[in-house]
């Protein structure tokens, strides 16, 4: 077995008294399209931030293709691409300028950066809007151009935080196909989401995180265990309010 593309050991982070990530161990094989699912506040974004070098962990180790994110940031950062949850980008650049900028920041020669920019704009269906400012883009377009920025240097591992949040179905399809193709070529994708249907459709590996811990991790079929992923998730994480009597006043029939 080759070394895993992403290896996380004993990852912890506390904000004051609140332990946001309480010891995560995770291994994702190269070429995998992995999903990290969990309820809001489970520690998805915090974990991804630490894996991508944005947030200093209290303890633990993260290896990307063997490069330690916190011991040797340049080596690890060179081989990852990241799309953050809000996809806040340089709004006063046009889509085209933004992609070229991302490529140049990664040290690509100008000609390569420009040709890849053109191709990415084409695949992402943004050619028509290439010269518009990102400030005037819709959420779907922002996510697409953010994905382009994260892919332009052809990373071996791609991290995405809620890639399809607030994205229209057409753009979502573009993003989904691009991710599948990227993983099929042998690169690795790890994304967080709470859209179970999406994870079930595209992921071959699923990890469920709750209250800062990985509850279960394995291939999608293992985690589902014959049920739908949605049901498996709810069984594992548990529904919070079960007593429906309490809300007897809710609904139009009562006063």
């Amino acid at each position: 077995m080759n070394q895993p593309a992403i290896a996380v050991r004993g990852l912890r982070k506390a904000f004051g008294a609140k332990e946001a990530v309480a010891g995560i161990d995770l291994e994702i094989a190269a070429g995998s399209l992995a999903g990290l699912v969990g309820p809001n506040g489970a520690g998805k974004t915090t974990s991804l931030s630490m894996m991508t070098g944005l947030l200093r962990p209290d303890s633990g180790q993260i290896l990307i293709n063997g490069a330690d994110v916190w011991a040797d940031p340049p080596a690890a950062k060179a081989i990852i691409g990241v799309v953050t949850a809000e996809a806040k980008l340089f709004e006063r650049l046009s889509g085209e300028e933004l992609l070229e900028y991302a490529g140049r920041l990664r040290g690509m020669p100008t000609t390569d950066a420009r040709s890849r920019t053109g191709q990415l704009l084409d695949v992402l269906d943004l050619t028509e809007d290439a010269k518009r400012l990102v400030a005037d883009y819709s959420t779907g377009m922002r996510k697409k151009v953010a994905l382009g920025c994260a892919l332009i240097h052809n990373p071996s591992v791609l991290f995405l935080d809620e890639p399809l949040e607030g994205v229209d179905p057409v753009s979502a399809d573009v993003i989904r196909r691009l991710l599948t193709r990227f993983a099929a070529s042998g690169s690795t994708v790890l994304f967080s989401s709470h859209v179970m249907e999406l994870v079930e459709q595209v992921c071959d590996h699923v990890s469920i995180i709750d209250k800062g811990r990985i509850v279960v991790s394995g291939t999608t079929a293992e985690v589902r265990g014959g049920k739908t992923l949605q049901q498996a998730f709810i069984d594992l994480v548990g529904t919070r309010a079960t007593d429906e009597e309490v809300l007897s006043w809710l609904g139009s029939s009562s006063s």
Binding site: L54, R56, P74
Partner: protein, 528 residues
Amino acid sequence: MVGLLVQLKLRLLRNALRSSTAAKASFIISTILACVLAILVFAGLALLRGHSTAVALTSITFTVFAFGWLILPIFAFGLDSTLDPANLALYPLRTRPLVAGLLAASAAGAWPVANVIGLLGATVGLAHGAAGVLTAVVAVVLEVLFCITLARFVTTSMAGLLRSRRGKDFAAFLIVPIFALYEFFIQVVPKVASEGKITAATFSGIDSWMRWLPPGMAAHAIKDASDGDPSAALLRLALLALVIVVLGVLWIRALRRALVTADTSTQRSRVRASALPFARYGLRGTLAARFWIYQRREPTSLIYWLLTAVIMVAVSASSIVGQNKHPGVLLASAVFGAAFVGFFHANTVGLTGPPFLQEAFALSSRRELRAYFSGQNLALAVIAVPLLAAISLGLAAAAGHPASAPNGIAVDLAGLGAALAFSDIFTVVLAYPMVKRAGSPMRQAAQGYTSLGLLGVLGTLGGVAVAAAPVIVVAVLVSGHAAVRVPALLVSAAGYGIALAWAGVRIAARAAEQRLPELCQVAIRSTL
């Protein structure tokens, strides 16, 4: 509603204090400053007792405070952190109680209280007798109420202007004339005063029209009541109260509109450029290109340049309008111009906000971080050097000292180098999140970080002045044939400036290498 919103404000404050020590320190400093202001203003007004210009000066003080309330929430460091009406838009609240609540919440805080206490100095300085003191108390309360209503009205109605992105961009420029006026008051007026051109007659002259403004009416009501004319005093107070009510009604209207108008920016605009400029010059060129584009397309950047120009002119204006045309003022102008370029960019990460992450993902080695800072410095210098030099030249000509222009330009160059160095270093060591509040065109330090922002301002101003001092000394002391002296002076000043900026880049990059994750967190917490 009133109690609820005041409680909410106090709770927000308490939570902010609990969250970090920086917030705590900032709150304490801000409270101390408010106390100092209260004491100084109280003493100042109290000392006017028996003075012939007492009423004129009180009236002017009241007006200046109203003006301050108008200006500071817009461009300063978020002194008044009252609640954003947008947060309340979804609740089924009637506008009237909401207004009362927001007003009360605005009034709860160290600064408004300091205002009341400071202005109460008029009870000693201007008021005589029980009726006078009583009127003074009422007048001061009404005056502060007027200030708050005015400030709320103006900021809320500006929020209405800020609908589309273009509207927002355009409205942001309103800050420039306001700032120019403000600069006139703090730079030119004191200078003219020190030349003895401001006398008791001047105050009475100003007061002859200021007495008809609401703050002036408050001051004159105290005078009337003290002089045994209670009906005139009552009339003035009633007029003032009426103005407050009218402003309140206007504010309610503006608020009602602001609560239901959303951002509708759908306008399409295209850029002509087909590719990044100077991107072929490596990483530094790429970063310089990004900063350069932002200097042109980001209204805040354009405003910063205009404000720098206003500052330089304002500092020198006193010497141009005054009798005493001292060429040294030109050098002060240059120091201020350079220092403002520095402090406007002394928190690049907070100013860039979340997009900084995209850069942070790509930059990590010290060499790359040097490219980041030097790229920014290059983009700024390309604009700052010609701008500052042209203004210095223009000011020297206007002051009738064209020969001293090279001195000014030399100080520009040296000061600019120092300013860029300080801005790079402060960007790393004093990084703090910035927010853009609804109704305000300018970015401000996030709640709890005001004093860090202030530290950056004072540090840059002081640092640039100290760093430029050798050049000022050389420029003033060394004389010689112009054909030799001018080129030698300019070249050595430029060399000195470049050396300072170079050192700043190295120090900043070394520090940033260790603090990159922390800088990313600052960027994430900035909302722009």
